[in-house]
Symmetry: C2
Subunit: 183 residues, 2 copies
């Protein structure tokens, strides 16, 4: 397990501001799952909120609706193959945490995915119309964590090529987060 | 003006799938504006939908609510200084298109921002609760365009450092979209 430090809640949006692909982990009544999501983003600063699209066909959807909780995990390039795998397999058929390491969260029941760069523990703000019509879930971030080698003092500083965040394109192809620059 | 080719609507989500920062352009009753938004993402494939957060204090909000339309423009690194500027200035005080070149859209009234890599013309799907409570707007993509030097056949292929998409971090700092890789 990589090191993990708490990120102050008003800075939690910075973990997603650059639009990385995330892993959504969930748990309820002894079952747990993880899926990939390219469609998530911050929604508010303080208290921090996020949105994420979770398809009706997924086990994640069932666990998130039952528990009212989820975790957004920010995977590194080292976890790209895992990200692709958990984005194509169904948790109804295999235990996806057999390949993804799980670490207990601070507040919610859903586990943190081991080896990620950052984690946002979220409680669903129930919005049935959005959920039913658009598969769109709003979560309030109740705890946030980061690997200090990659994020500290409110800024990302990826230490090497394998510990950059990633952005899914399509067909198994990702972009790594590139070099920072000042405008 | 860079070259511009139509992107088939079922592939429009690929223009935003990797989470770039966008410019939101809008127009109504002879007024027009452009602002930066790090918080936008695809919401559906076909018909394609997007979501974007537009703060109540902005002129963009007023123009989008009045017209029911907006354009998401994907700026390149060459436009990072412009992106930062239109993200900090208010269209109530200056005409931001004095520095950003405008090109007529295909369908909506809002102009396309010249020199961008891609453009998604959108019509608002009215959701007053989301708009009022979360500043969250849902749009259906009614036309999509890309510079074929950067996007064609459903894939991004950034031709040089200045024509990569960008991802806002904070405090004037961006990441360029990095190199593609297969997982």
């Amino acid at each position: 397990m990589s090191e993990r430090i708490a990120v102050p809640l008003p800075k939690a949006y910075l973990l997603l501001n650059h639009g990385p692909t995330v892993l959504v982990s969930s748990a309820h009544a002894g079952r747990r799952n993880v899926m990939a999501a390219a469609w998530s983003m911050p929604l508010d600063f303080d208290p921090p909120k996020v949105v994420v699209v979770i398809d009706k066909a997924t086990l994640t959807r069932e666990l998130v609706e039952a528990s009212g909780e989820f975790v957004l995990n920010v995977p590194s390039r080292a976890l790209a193959a895992l990200t692709l795998a958990v984005g194509t397999q169904s948790g109804r058929e295999i235990d996806k945490f057999a390949s993804a390491g799980a670490v207990a969260s601070g507040i919610v029941a859903a586990p943190l995915v081991e080896g990620c760069l950052a984690w946002l523990e979220c409680r669903v703000i129930p919005e049935p119309h959005n959920q039913n019509t658009y598969d769109l879930f709003i979560g309030e971030v109740v705890a946030a964590w980061a690997d200090p080698a990659a994020f500290s003092n409110g800024r990302w500083h990826f230490p090497d090529e394998q510990r950059r965040s990633i952005h899914y394109q399509a067909g198994g192809s990702f972009f790594a987060t590139g070099d920072p620059f000042e405008a």
